[in-house]
């Protein structure tokens, strides 16, 4: 039987001092700091020099004024516009799966399968499917919709749209599984309560599901936002190589081309530094926004 003094001794022994915690995370922190920190340092150092000479911010000014860089950033921003579409479709699919419609296990598998396929495999497949005489156009012609057939990857006006469609198809699965997992953890009595009030399918999900899923939706927005702005290199490289013309050039291919194909490392490093600074500003703004936003208890 423990005495009050014994309980106090136990509480003291369990309390960790901050420096002990730091020691435990030090190995991981140092590894990450070395890998990422040193890498960032070297990139920024390269961006501030040209042909071995210090040029300050001159390289950054050149890259910001460089038309191909602006085009690439513009394309990434246009890809970001698909984010609401991805979220909306993922939510609807997750809700339908949650409602356990007939054959929901097969549907769940079919929805998640694209996500586990390697991106280069997806790129090669759709690179063939979307050619002028590829499977998509052949299918459209077979069902009498030949008028909709296009050179999906060869037409500069729609190539980026085609690329975005493939990205949406591939990325949806992650969101569906994420949302479905959250849905399954929601208390069922909330739905029963709102049904008693006479709410139907749409009202119950609008007033119960969406507010309860705010945090997970926010998480998915961040993850997919990062993907669409800085993780689409494989799609572009395999499917279009930035073409036709520069119709699908994105920031990653701009950096890659300048670093390795054109052999202008300072330009590539400057582009990477500009993007890093841009993200840091956005991250800071987001943190400030969250800090001043009134907290809600739901989710």
């Amino acid at each position: 039987m423990s005495t009050p003094a014994g309980a106090r001794r136990k509480r003291r022994s369990r309390r960790r001092t901050p420096w002990q915690a730091l020691l435990w995370i030090a190995p991981a922190f140092l590894s990450i700091a070395f890998v990422f920190g040193y890498g960032v340092y070297r990139v920024v150092e390269e961006a501030l020099h040209r042909e071995g000479e210090w040029v300050g911010l001159d390289n950054l000014r050149i890259v910001i004024d460089d038309p191909p860089f602006r085009t690439a950033v513009g394309h990434n921003l246009r890809l970001l516009l698909t984010l609401p579409i991805i979220i909306a479709i993922a939510l609807v699919l997750a809700i339908l799966l949650y409602e356990a419609l007939r054959g929901w296990r097969i549907h769940r598998f079919a929805v998640f399968l694209p996500y586990i396929l390697p991106v280069p495999v997806v790129g090669v497949l759709f690179g063939q499917i979307l050619t002028l005489h590829g499977m998509l156009n052949s299918s459209l012609e077979t069902i009498g919709l030949g008028g909709l057939a296009h050179d999906w990857l060869g037409d500069p006006d729609i190539a980026l749209f085609s690329l975005a469609s493939v990205i949406i198809w591939k990325e949806l699965g992650f969101g569906v599984i994420l949302f479905l997992a959250r849905l399954l953890s929601l208390p069922g009595d909330l739905y029963e309560a709102i049904k008693v009030d006479g709410a139907g399918f749409w009202r119950s999900h609008w007033h119960v599901t969406l507010p309860m899923m705010r945090s997970i939706i926010g998480f998915y927005v961040v993850i997919e936002g990062i993907t669409l702005f800085s993780w689409v290199f494989s799609y572009v490289y395999v499917m279009t190589r930035g073409g036709p013309g520069d119709a699908t050039q994105v920031t990653e291919t701009y950096i890659y081309d300048n670093a390795f194909t054109s052999d202008i490392p300072w330009l590539a490093a400057s582009a990477a530094t500009v993007l890093l600074l841009g993200f840091l500003v956005l991250a800071a703004a987001f943190l400030v926004f969250r800090a001043v936003l009134p907290k809600r208890s739901l989710g």
Binding site: L23, A26, L30, G134, G154, D155, G243, P244, G245
Partner: protein, 447 residues
């Protein structure tokens, strides 16, 4: 006790992590990963190269050459590493940054190796191969800068013949065109009979550079004109540089090309010609023997792109050689050069042709051994070849000017005038961003 153990464990873990992180930066950083050795000691050479990309049979030839060379030089081992078309340049650029990678590197001719030479990534082969030996290597002049030859020609790349199907043209009642007007008329006739005149693919971009070289050279009076445009003394919108875009537009207007040219890669499109779905295609000269083997000797004809002008490339093939270079960081430069010279021995020259059907870049090659008539035609055409334009412009101008311009023209998004204007705009950008490259061009042009 628990507290002390916790602290000791954490400190130990941190030390191990730091030591592991630092350990990788103190490893050997010599060129190919091996320590320098005398030529009598063990030597390992690494060769990065292109494989069978444009000459089927190359892999077997190189494997055979390596085996024979190692048997004659027991202290030397040669490790060959294949590169794809898209990775050939970027991988070497990455290796050059780290000063680690190949001892011997496959390079295209002209600017494709000279840019690396100017950046200090290559050792001049003329420092290691005697002048009287190098004099036999064909097209070495385009690899020469500052009085040195930077890479050694390996095999000739007749650039780029038009292959035509005699059987398809005959069935369509179309004579082999001998000039530009006949060429366009042939496109009209073939189209009327539902036959694709010429198969091409621009999705991967490279074909744009080919078209530039075989058509753009027809309106130039000298290769020096081109160097002057690069350094800014002339403009790419001047008629002699812009005319070829208009001629390409004429071909598009006459529907000379397959309608899916924008979504096909180059080699995919060539296959449709082999399959009999188009009357003509444009091929790497080194692949002609392979295509003849696939289609049949009696069905294939070769010709230069029909002439519209009377410039240096009118009615001619571009003459260039693919080369082998030696990395500037290689600790075995002489050994690398010795292997390159071995590939130019008479026995190896004959073996090269026998294995690949392609032509070694050496005037000591016995051309009487050429058995395929179409390859013999190419050999004869190559003797009077013109400079290959792609090798004389910055690589960035090629990719952003030619590759992109051709893609957009085929997509109907850009006119010939806009393509020429964009070429000059891109060159202007290069002059701003890469002034050192322009200085090197000026010196190259002056010499």
């Amino acid at each position: 006790m628990v507290k002390r153990r916790t602290v000791m464990f954490a400190v130990l873990a941190a030390v191990v992590a730091i030591a592991a992180g630092c350990g990788s930066s103190s490893g050997d950083s010599s060129g190919s990963g091996s320590t320098p050795a005398s030529s009598t000691g063990p030597v390992k050479l690494t060769m990065w190269w292109w494989g069978d990309q444009e000459a089927a049979g190359m892999k077997n030839f190189v494997a055979d050459s390596v085996q024979k060379y190692e048997a004659e030089h027991p202290n030397i081992t040669i490790d060959t590493v294949l590169q794809s078309t898209d990775n050939l340049m970027p991988n070497f650029a990455a290796a050059a940054k780290a000063k680690q990678g190949p001892d011997i590197e496959y390079r295209w001719g002209g600017i494709w190796n000279l840019q690396d030479a100017w950046d200090g990534n290559l050792a001049a082969v003329s420092d290691y191969i005697p002048q009287d030996e190098l004099a036999h290597y064909l097209n070495a002049s385009e690899d020469t800068s500052g009085g040195k030859v930077w890479t050694a020609p390996w095999y000739v790349q007749p650039s780029f013949p038009v292959l035509y199907r005699k059987d398809i043209l005959k069935d369509a009642g179309v004579a082999v065109p001998t000039n530009w007007d006949e060429f366009l008329a042939a496109c009209d006739t073939l189209n009327s009979k539902g036959i694709t005149p010429i198969a091409g693919g621009v999705k991967d971009g490279w074909f744009g550079g080919w078209l530039y070289s075989i058509m753009g050279s027809q309106s130039l009076t000298s290769i020096d004109d081109l160097k002057e445009a690069v350094v800014g003394d002339k403009k790419f919108t001047d008629p002699e540089f812009a005319e070829w875009w208009s001629k390409l537009q004429e071909m598009i207007d006459h529907k000379c090309w397959n309608d899916d040219i924008g979504s096909q890669e180059l080699y995919q499109a060539q296959q449709t010609w082999v399959d009999g779905k188009s009357a003509m295609t444009i091929s790497a000269g080194t692949e002609v023997g392979n295509f003849v083997k696939q289609v049949g000797q009696d069905k294939v004809g070769v010709m230069a792109m029909p002439a519209y002008g009377d410039g240096i490339g009118a009615g001619k093939l571009g003459s260039t050689s693919q080369t082998l270079g030696i990395s500037s960081w290689s600790p075995h430069k002489q050994e690398a050069a010795d292997f390159i010279m071995y590939l130019h021995t008479p026995e190896r020259l004959a073996a090269f042709y026998k294995a690949t059907g392609a032509l070694p870049a050496d005037d000591r090659f016995d051309s009487s051994s050429i058995t395929v008539p179409q390859v013999k035609d190419l050999f004869d055409m190559s003797k009077d070849g013109s400079p290959y334009l792609e090798n004389f412009i910055p690589t960035d101008l090629d990719s952003k000017g030619n590759f992109e311009g051709v893609q957009l023209m085929f997509a109907g998004s850009e006119s010939a005038q806009e393509a020429a204007a964009n070429m000059e705009k891109e060159m202007d950008r290069i002059r701003t961003i890469q002034p050192d490259l322009i200085d090197n061009f000026k010196e190259w042009a002056a010499n």
